[in-house]
Amino acid sequence: MSLSRRALLGTAAAVPAAATFRSARAQRPVVKIGVLTDLSGVYQDIVGPLAVESTRLAVADFGDRGFDVEVLIGDHQNKPDIGSNLVRQWYDRDGVDIVVEGGSSAVALAVSGVARDKNKAYINSGGATSDLTGTQCNANTLHWTYDTYMLAKSTGAAMVKAGGNSWFFITADYAFGHALTRDVGNFVTQAGGRVLGGVRTPFPGTTDFSSYLLQAQASGAKVIGLANAGADTTNCIKQAKEFGITTPLAGLLMFISDVHSLGLDTCQGLVLTESFYWNLNDRTRAFSDRLWKRMPNRRAGMANAGPYSSTLHFLKAVQAMGPAEAKKSGAALIAQMKKMPTDDDVHGQGIIREDGRKIHPAYLFQVKKPSESKGPWDYYNLLGTTPADEAFRPMKDGNCPLVKA
């Protein structure tokens, strides 16, 4: 191998330059955010790449305030052991300070346990289980965007107020479906409505819901509650359209991306709850336009937008504590975040409760008719709002061990 003089000189010049560059970087503290999400599976539209982009947007919007922020990305592939392994590696080896998002409930609960064991921080956005701030809560975890209680409360109670006072449930026959039916049913009755009946569908594996839908229509109920998720819900909605069922359906776990993929023609009249809609007010529109520039042709639902809100609040807490202090203890960092009120373009103003529950209003939407929609992603009419202090489960009912202290 022969070396030219030019290459030699070039290398000689580059070495000290690189050295000075490195030392200049080393003086700035770095906080690391790990975005654990579903990039390849069934939840990739609900969270996925758009959740990653909204995290990056939060970092950009926060700007340079004396410390560097690095964002790492991981795909948990909807397997709790892969998620748990990745997060352990991030915390132990890669110096990650906080994990945001976290996908399905099983993954979220697993990551929350790891954060507690390693004394790091975790903010869940995509997982639905209210156990995260209930019996399984811990001092290292916050639950941000929504939970099953919020969905049940808003869809059940606000729907009765909006006129839907008699319900019939189509329930997936497993723990999740039973719990959802029970919770929504309670809120419906409390708000003065009536539950006329229900039917349980075998889970997993039911694909033909027509007989259940016709039974629901025959009951004369004003609302058909869909206490199921994923493919079951979309199958119900499609088949209701095919059978010409005009009774409004209430999807208890639906996001704007589901409405987008089914289309307005199929979904019109469907009622659902989200804690964020891009076209809700000036602030949400401003946020959504910034996100649109980074990832065009997609609009965020609440679980996509949640990581923006939580990341921004995390960065504010880091600034308040100082990066060195924030990196020391995940529990202290989470405590600091609970102390500060939240304010961002996604959820507006809010607070974080002692049990780790982030509080903001929940909105009940009805999907527009195709004729009402003025443009792409113009999908929702606002039917009702549940104020922040009513939207989530009261702390005393959650049995979170942190609250007694």
Binding site: L39, S40, Q44, G48, P49, L72, I73, G74, D75, H76, Q77, N78, K79, P80, D81, I82, S84, N85, L86, R88, Q89, D92, R93, S104, S105, A106, L109, A110, G113, T129, D131, Q136, D173, Y174, A175, F176, F203, P204, G205
Partner: protein
């Protein structure tokens, strides 16, 4: 040693050395996961590689092992070794029930029966209270080995997993090279002839099915203690598919093949995680290339080229 050929002895010590050195370089939790799945793949290979029975329902044994270990460690406070043993026993018991029915048929019918029974088991797991439904069993304590040594640190747990893995690996090797194993191979090559020699082949098949299921249960039990969770992922069909991929990739009917196959698959899942959909795409491409270019699997092909038995 123990019926190892010379290259196998060399490979075995190489593997033991790798297990001892690796945690200094790679992340221990990741390595433990590799060993759990390697053991699972070895158990599966015992059936398909040495008896020619392709089970499509091995996730049932792995997953039930995980659930039982997790539940007994969490709810009843059993020590880890007893909890893992319980996982293995229940896996084996389930294997007895599945096997009793499935070994009456061969080939695709055998595969379909195991698949159907495993899906029934999955259905039960979504309904049962003790499995925690789609949340799974969370926060399982690793506990104290024999009630004495805390396994909280990753390296302590690593040592336990390594010992169980090597012990079960040697057990599988022993089974394969025993007179019992010779009969199994005879059944694989020509079942009517084995029958004509006076062997009750069904008994042999059932016995090896139960052994394979029990070892899969132990692998699942270890995994649930390593991560502190047992969820529906472990009993679901993709898990049965993954273990087939591992065995195929490494080389069916070789003793080291499944270990290498498991290491490759788990490494892809872990280190391709930042690239999203590329995990599944890469897995698919690797599978196709493997089937087209080296059908005996990585280790199988190596052994055939070099005329070694590995």
């Amino acid at each position: 040693m123990m019926g190892f050929s010379r290259p196998q002895t060399a490979a075995f010590w190489l593997m033991v050395a790798a297990i001892m050195i690796a945690p200094a370089i790679l992340y221990p939790v990741f390595l433990m996961k590799v060993m759990c799945f390697a053991l699972f793949a070895c158990a599966f290979n015992l059936l398909i590689g040495y008896v020619g029975l392709g089970s499509f329902g091995h996730a049932a044994f792995f997953g039930m092992g995980a659930y039982i270990t997790a539940y007994s460690a969490k709810a009843w406070g059993w020590t880890p070794e007893i909890a893992i043993l319980a996982g293995g026993l229940v896996g084996g018991g389930l294997g007895l029930a599945f096997g009793w029915l499935a070994i009456r048929r061969q080939g695709i019918y055998f595969a379909m029966i195991t698949l159907a029974l495993a899906q029934m088991n999955y259905f039960l797991c979504t309904q049962w209270d003790f499995t925690g439904g789609e949340d799974g069993i969370q926060g399982v304590p690793r506990g104290n080995l024999f009630g004495l040594f805390s396994l909280k640190s990753d390296l302590a747990m690593y040592a336990v997993v390594a010992v169980i893995f090597v012990a079960c690996f040697l057990l599988i090797h022993r089974i394969v090279h025993s007179p019992f194993g010779q009969v199994l191979k005879a059944i694989r090559e020509n079942e009517p002839r084995a029958t004509s020699l006076g062997y009750r082949t069904d008994d042999y098949k059932l016995m090896v099915f139960v052994l394979s299921a029990a070892i899969a249960g132990i692998a699942g039990g270890m995994k649930s203690l390593v991560f502190g969770i047992a969820t529906l992922t472990d009993v679901n069909f993709p898990m049965s598919g993954e273990v087939i991929l591992m065995a195929l990739l490494g080389g069916m009917g070789t003793i080291f093949g499944p270990v290498v196959g498991a290491a490759i698959v788990i490494t892809m899942q872990n280190y391709l995680a930042p690239f999203g959909a590329w995990v599944t795409v890469t897995q698919g491409v690797v599978f196709v290339v493997c089937v087209l270019a080296f059908r005996r699997g990585l280790i199988g092909e190596l052994a055939a080229r070099r005329r070694l038995s590995l």
